[in-house]
C-alpha cells in the first residue's frame, strides 16, 4: 500500500511564496517607472508654461525673477544652457584629474605592484570611494577653495571663493577609485599571450603596456571613463557646497559656475508651491539629468560587455 499524503496545503503555500517573489522583483521596475512618470509628469506641466526650446537653448538662467505666472514666458529666464555648461566644466575638470591618476594607478597595480603592495593599496584606494560625498563637499568648500583663493592671490589673479576648480578638483579625487578599479579589471583581463608575445619581441615592460595592453584594454577603459563621467554629472553634494549659485556662462575654471544638481537642490529645499514653474523646472532638470546619465550608463555597459566578449 502506498502512502499518498495530501499536498494541497503545501502547494498552495508554495504558489503563494513564488507569487510574492515575482511581486517583489517588480519593485525595481516600478521604481524606474515611478522615476520616469514623476519626472515626465511634472516636466510636462513645466513645458506648458515655458517652451521646451527656451529651456534647452536659452542662455539666461534666473528662475527667482519669475514670481508672477504671467511674466514667465516673456522673461525667458529658464534657459538652462549656463547650468549644462557649468556641469560640463566641473565634470571635465574632475575627469582631467581622475583619468591620469586613476589610469596610472591601475597600470601600476595591475602590472608592476607586488601582491603584498596590491593587497594594501587597493583597499586603501577603495576607502576614497566609501567616503560620503558630503565629506568631500566640506573638504572642497572649507579647505580647497580658500587655499586656491590664497594661491591665486599670491600669483596675482582672482579666484572666486566658490570656483569651479575647487569643486572639480575634489570631485576628481572622488572618482579616482572608480576609474582605477574598473581600469585595473580590464587591464588584468588582457590575455597573457599578448603580453608574452610583446615581451618576447624585446619590448620593455612599459612599451608592452603602452603599445599592446592599453590599446587592447581601451574599450573597457572608455567604458569606465563613461561611468565616471556619469557619476560626475550626477554628483550633488560637492557642487552644492563648493560650486555656488551664480549661473555664469564661462569656461574659466577660476570663476563660480552652477550646475544642474545645485539648482535642483536650491529650487526644492524649503517651502515650495507645486504650481509655479520655479519649482517645476527642477523636475525638468532632473529629467535631463536622468536621461543623460542613463544614456552614458547604457553605452558604458554595452562597451564593457562587448569588450569582455572579445577575449572570452
Amino acid at each position: 500500500m502506498y502512502v499518498t499524503p495530501s499536498r494541497k496545503a503545501q502547494k498552495a503555500v508554495e504558489a503563494l511564496i513564488r507569487g510574492v517573489l515575482v511581486l517583489s522583483s517588480t519593485v525595481a521596475v516600478l521604481t524606474t517607472l515611478g522615476i520616469v512618470a514623476s519626472l515626465l509628469f511634472e516636466s510636462l506641466r513645466f513645458f506648458d508654461a515655458v517652451p521646451l526650446t527656451d529651456f534647452l537653448f536659452g542662455l539666461e538662467w534666473s528662475p527667482q525673477t519669475a514670481i508672477r505666472a504671467d511674466q514667465v514666458g516673456a522673461s525667458g529666464s529658464f534657459g538652462a544652457v549656463p547650468l549644462f555648461a557649468g556641469t560640463l566644466l566641473i565634470s571635465a575638470i574632475a575627469l582631467v584629474i581622475a583619468i591620469p591618476v586613476g589610469l596610472y594607478s591601475a597600470i601600476y597595480l595591475a602590472e608592476y605592484a607586488s601582491t603584498s603592495v596590491r593587497a594594501w593599496v587597493k583597499p586603501t584606494l577603495e576607502i576614497l570611494a566609501g567616503i560620503p560625498t558630503v565629506v568631500y563637499g566640506f573638504f572642497a568648500a572649507l579647505v580647497v577653495a580658500p587655499w586656491l583663493r590664497g594661491a591665486g592671490e599670491g600669483a596675482g589673479f582672482e579666484v572666486s571663493s566658490e570656483s569651479a576648480l575647487a569643486a572639480g578638483l575634489v570631485m576628481g579625487i572622488m572618482i579616482i577609485p572608480l576609474i582605477s578599479s574598473l581600469a585595473e579589471d580590464v587591464i588584468s583581463a588582457v590575455p597573457r599571450s599578448l603580453r608574452e608575445a610583446a615581451l618576447g619581441l624585446g619590448a620593455t615592460r612599459s612599451e608592452m603596456i603602452r603599445q599592446i595592453v592599453l590599446p587592447a584594454a581601451l574599450p573597457g577603459i572608455m567604458g569606465g571613463v563613461l561611468l565616471a563621467a556619469s557619476r560626475a554629472i550626477g554628483e550633488t553634494m560637492i557642487v552644492v557646497m563648493a560650486a555656488g549659485l551664480s549661473a555664469n556662462l564661462t569656461a574659466n575654471p577660476f570663476q563660480a559656475v552652477t550646475t544642474v544638481t545645485v539648482q535642483i537642490v536650491t529650487l526644492l529645499t524649503g517651502d515650495q508651491e507645486f504650481d509655479s514653474p520655479k519649482t517645476l523646472v527642477a523636475f525638468a532638470l532632473g529629467l535631463v539629468l536622468f536621461v543623460v546619465t542613463l544614456l552614458l550608463n547604457v553605452v558604458a555597459l554595452k562597451v564593457v560587455k562587448k569588450y569582455r566578449e572579445q577575449y572570452e
Binding site: 503545501q10 508554495e14 511564496i17 513564488r18 517573489l21 517583489s24 522583483s25 517588480t26 525595481a28 524606474t32 522615476i35 514623476s38 519626472l39 511634472e42 591620469p100 591618476v101 586613476g102 596610472y104 594607478s105 597600470i107 601600476y108 608592476y112 593599496v121 586603501t124 584606494l125 576607502i127 576614497l128 566609501g130 567616503i131 558630503v134 565629506v135 563637499g137 566640506f138 573638504f139 568648500a141 572649507l142 579647505v143 579625487i173 579616482i176 615592460r205 612599459s206 603596456i209 556619469s230 550626477g234 554628483e235 550633488t236 553634494m237 557646497m241 544638481t261 535642483i264 526644492l268 529645499t269 527642477a282 532632473g286 539629468l289 546619465t293 542613463l294 550608463n297 547604457v298 555597459l301
Partner: protein, 413 residues
C-alpha cells in the same frame, strides 16, 4: 653606425622611459593616497577639539525663589557681577554676560533638578561658556590680532586670563555634544538628534530593502524563466544602480510626499527613498551569493524529494545568507552617507528635539554636516568636522562588520 650600435644607443633612452613610466604609476598612487591622508588629517585635526568644551566655574546660591521663577540666567549674571565688581557700565556688563552660553541656565537647572538639595546652598557650578570664549581657549582665536579684528575685546581678554589663572575656566570632556540635539548656539549643538534620525531612517531602509532585495534575488536566480521580462528586470536593476541619488530624491518628493501625502522631513520617507536606492546593491550582492552555492546542494536536496521552494528555503538561503548580509551592510553604509535625496524630502529642517519615532520631523548625520558646514560661526566648523568623524566611525564599524562576517562565515565549496 651598425644596427647593433643604434639599438644599443636607443637602449638607455628606452630604459629611462621604462623607469619614468613606473615612477608615474607610483606617483599616481601616492597622489591618490596623499589626498586621502590630507583629507582625513584635516577632518581629524579640526574635529577632535570637540571632545573638549570650555566650562566656567561660578560660585552661586540657588535660591528657592529663583528655582521657582526659573530665573537661572539671572543667578548666573549675579555671580558674574560678584566676581568682577569693576564691570559697572552697561557695555562692560554685557560683555561679561556674554562669557557664559545662553544655555548655561538650562545646564544649571538640570544640575539642580537632579539634586534638589542644592537649593539654598552656596557652592561652585561648572557651566558651559559661549563659543567665542571656547574658541579662545582652544587657541582658535589669535590673540596677537589688533582688537578690532578679534571677536574678543582686550577687556574681555583680561577677564578671561584672570579666570584661567584662578582655575575657574577650563576644558573638560564635552558630554553635551553626544547627548543633545541641534542648536543655534554652537556650544550647545549636539549630534544625538541627527544620529537618531539616521538610525531611524536606516531601520526603515533595512526593513524594506533587505526582504525585497533578497526576494528579488531569489526570484531572478532560482525561479525566473529566461525570457524578455526577466531580461528587462535585470537591465533595469543594473541601470537603477547608476541613477544619480538626487533623482531618487525627486521621486520621493513627487510620489511619497505629493501623491501619497506622507509627512515631510520624516525618517519614514527618508528610509523609503534610501531603500529604493540601496535595493540594486543588495540585489546584485545577493545574486552573487546565491550563484556561489554549488549546484550539488540543490541536486542533493531535490533528490531527497524537496520541492523547489523547500530547496531554496532550507538549503540555498542559509548557505547564501552571510554573503547577502555582507552586501546588505555595505548597502546600508552607502545609505548612511547619502545626503542629496534627503534634502529633497525636507530632512534639512532645523530640529532641536531628538526624534522619537519614524513619523516625527528629523534630520540625518550627513545632512547635519551639510547644515553646520554652512553656518558662519567658527565653532560650527569644529562641530562639522566632529560630526564627520562620528559619521566615519559608524561607516568604519559597518564595513568592518561586513569584512568580519565575510571572513568568518564565508564557505569555500
Amino acid at each position: 653606425m651598425s644596427k647593433a650600435e643604434r639599438i644599443k644607443a636607443g637602449l638607455a633612452h628606452r630604459y629611462r622611459a621604462e623607469r619614468h613610466f613606473r615612477l608615474y604609476g607610483i606617483g599616481a598612487i601616492l597622489l591618490a593616497l596623499g589626498f586621502l591622508g590630507v583629507m582625513l588629517t584635516v577632518v581629524i585635526g579640526r574635529g577632535v577639539g570637540v571632545l573638549q568644551q570650555s566650562y566656567i566655574q561660578l560660585t552661586l546660591t540657588v535660591t528657592a525663589e529663583a528655582a521657582e521663577t526659573g530665573d537661572w540666567q539671572g543667578l548666573i549674571k549675579t555671580s558674574l557681577r560678584e566676581q568682577f565688581p569693576e564691570a559697572r557700565k552697561r557695555k562692560d556688563k554685557k560683555q561679561l554676560y556674554g562669557f557664559v552660553s545662553s544655555g548655561a541656565g538650562y545646564a544649571l537647572r538640570r544640575q539642580v533638578e537632579q539634586n534638589p538639595d542644592l537649593i539654598g546652598q552656596r557652592r561652585a557650578y561648572w557651566l558651559p561658556v559661549s563659543d567665542d570664549v571656547d574658541m579662545l581657549l582652544k587657541d582658535a582665536i589669535d590673540r596677537s590680532l589688533p582688537e578690532s579684528d578679534r571677536r574678543i575685546t582686550d577687556q574681555e581678554l583680561a577677564w578671561i586670563d584672570t579666570l584661567i589663572e584662578s582655575g575657574a575656566l577650563e576644558l573638560r570632556f564635552n558630554k553635551g555634544f553626544f547627548t543633545s540635539g541641534d542648536s543655534r548656539e554652537p556650544e550647545l549643538a549636539g549630534i544625538l538628534g541627527a544620529a537618531v534620525g539616521s538610525a531611524l531612517s536606516l531601520l526603515v531602509c533595512l526593513m524594506l530593502a533587505f526582504p525585497l532585495g533578497v526576494m528579488t534575488a531569489v526570484h531572478l536566480e532560482e525561479f525566473a524563466p529566461k525570457n524578455r521580462w526577466t531580461d528587462l528586470i535585470e537591465v533595469n536593476i543594473n541601470n537603477l544602480a547608476a541613477v544619480p541619488s538626487i533623482v531618487f530624491g525627486l521621486l520621493g518628493l513627487a510620489v511619497f510626499l505629493n501623491v501619497f501625502g506622507l509627512p515631510r522631513s520624516a525618517p519614514l520617507v527618508g528610509g523609503m527613498v534610501l531603500a529604493l536606492m540601496t535595493l540594486p546593491t543588495i540585489i546584485i550582492a545577493s545574486r552573487a551569493a546565491l550563484k556561489s552555492v554549488p549546484p550539488s546542494i540543490r541536486q542533493a536536496a531535490m533528490a531527497l524529494g524537496a520541492s523547489p521552494v523547500q530547496v531554496v528555503l532550507h538549503h540555498i538561503l542559509p548557505s547564501a545568507m552571510p554573503g547577502m548580509l555582507t552586501g546588505t551592510i555595505i548597502g546600508m553604509a552607502q545609505a548612511l552617507g547619502e545626503t542629496a535625496p534627503l534634502l529633497m524630502i525636507g530632512m534639512v529642517a532645523f530640529i532641536v528635539d531628538v526624534p522619537q519615532g519614524i513619523l516625527e520631523q528629523a534630520t540625518a548625520l550627513p545632512v547635519q554636516i551639510f547644515l553646520w558646514a554652512d553656518a558662519p560661526e567658527r565653532a560650527f566648523g569644529e562641530r562639522t568636522a566632529a560630526a564627520i568623524l562620528v559619521l566615519l566611525v559608524f561607516l568604519v564599524l559597518m564595513n568592518l562588520t561586513a569584512v568580519i562576517l565575510r571572513k568568518r562565515f564565508e564557505q569555500r565549496w
